[in-house]
């Protein structure tokens, strides 16, 4: 059986753990620990290894949802996780100091993977301090040479997360149809 994955990436506190929790059939496996370094400012706990959840499909197949560690020092994990990946959901926290820089960093880091699959971007926390406008994200993405959906999302909302994953699927195959 194929071991398909959807990967969730993004900086600390962007909502990856919550997003996987929202989409997963079962409570996700989290490896959060109390943050003891620079990430404490943004989040009391942070993912040190990975988050893992599953979506069970018709026919008992499973899609694995992996959240990469938010801290950049764990980027060695990323290569391992991208194997058999269908696409990347990049979550960006709009309240960070420079969310456009975060976007550029993650898109460049996953460039090869995205080129083989697809990316869809969710902007979180837009209701708090909208530091960057949606247009800025689109401009930056274009400037970096990527194509993909960018939506405002609340990682706790199934509807929002469903939209962003659907956008990823349709980016891979616009002619895709539901089997229902």
């Amino acid at each position: 059986m194929n071991d398909f994955k959807i990967l969730f990436a993004g900086p600390v506190g962007s909502g990856k753990t919550t997003a996987i929790d929202t989409l997963s059939d079962e409570p996700p496996v989290c490896t959060n620990q109390n943050a003891s370094d620079m990430t404490r400012v943004r989040k009391s706990e942070t993912t040190v290894a990975l988050d893992y959840g599953t979506m069970t499909l018709d026919g008992k197949e499973k899609i694995h949802l992996y959240g990469t560690p938010g801290q950049e020092r764990f980027d060695f994990m990323w290569d391992i996780l991208t194997k058999n990946g269908l696409g990347l959901i990049l979550l960006l926290d709009n309240t960070r100091k420079d969310p456009l820089h975060d976007m550029a960093f993650f898109l460049q880091s996953f460039k090869d993977y995205i080129n083989k699959s697809a990316v869809a971007i969710g902007i979180t926390q837009t209701d708090i301090v909208p530091l960057a406008k949606m247009d800025s994200y689109h401009r930056k993405m274009k400037q970096l040479g990527f194509k993909g959906a960018i939506f405002e999302v609340d990682a706790r909302s199934f509807n929002d997360m469903s939209h962003i994953v659907q956008a990823l699927l349709f980016t891979i195959d616009p002619g895709l149809e539901s089997t229902a």
């Binding site: 499909l57 959906a149 349709f170």
Partner: protein, 428 residues
Amino acid sequence: MTTKSINISFLGIDERSKSAYEIFFKGIKHFKCHPVDDYGKAQLCLVDMDAYNIQQDYAELILNYPDLYVLILSLNEFSCTREQEFFIRKPVKRDQLEQLLNEIYQSIFGKTVAKRQLISPPPAELKTDIKDSVQSTKTPAEKAKPVPNSDEKVVSIKEPRKVSTANAAKLLKVENEEHFVGEQSDIDLKNPAELEKIYYDPGHLLQSIVDKAIMKSREEKQIIQLDVLNNTFYFDYEEQKVYSTVGPGIIRPLCLVHHDKNISYTTRANTYRDKLHEIIQSNKNKSIKKTLEKQSWNMESFMWLITLWCSRGRIPQGTDFNHPIYLMQWPNLTRLASIPNALRIAALLRDRRCSLSSVARHLNIEQRYVFAFFSACKAIGLANVSKRKADKLFVSEKPEKNKNQSILSKILTRLVSFSDKSSMNEIA
């Protein structure tokens, strides 16, 4: 066969006039009219369009009871916009009213009973009078359509009335998709006779009025107050916000009619911003229903919404549906009113240049979804018809199937089935 009766309710009509109408109804011989208080039980409502503040009540009425027949009484000219809407100019003449009630009765029950039973037909001059003063929204083409047989009509009234308890949240769900994408079935785009069905002119609709208010707010860097038929909107370009004194329950009907007059734009200083919240809140408190209808929007969401309600699955006049269109970027679909298949359409248009006709064909979806999506994207400045001459020669090919299509389809099915069960988002 027993004669059926029409249940009649009243709006904007005082008790005295109501009593007069009740006496009048008793005098009708060919069918019975029963006055009722509950609009949900009524088949017809008499509306006095000259009553104070009636516009708002009337808009709520037709929104909550879309199937209700309405007879408008007014001293002024009234332009009917719904099929079940009839107009009679005051002073109301007895014969005229009886003739019209007969027409409505026939329309409801699909019978011609009264026509046969009319003891003395109205005089010729009265006939002309009635013709002039009574309007319905039926176009000549619709009038030429064969009248459904009586069985069909009877079946339709036996079905429980769809009484909507519409509020803001419900209006913004995709479950009322006909509000957003209309009900027009696919047409043969090669048949010129059918083309008028897919076009609309935003020029006299709320869409262009709102667009103008947004432009003014941007140019003047001030808040613009827009008044349309006693309903007020505030456009704050700097904050990208729109406020209104009424909710979607009133705004949507405003999108269905042409506005040539009773519109005013007033410039307000930005200091007025603080007052806005007070105005909106105080207006909410005044509302009898005290509903939680949405009264503030992100500007883009508002423009998108208004365009959908105005276009209802059509494209602006003059749009070349055979010419490739471009989509500059994905619309922020999680915060915009839902259009079925919007994600698929956006993905295809971001992947390749396609004409509107080929999008519907490639994705095997109804044209109205593509047209609604295009009109809304165009209104917020994200899409347009390509003007490059080279694109005329462009032939769009159907997207190739992905090698993982089977698993992707299963993921999609899983997401869609869960979305159906979960509550839908309101527009931000």
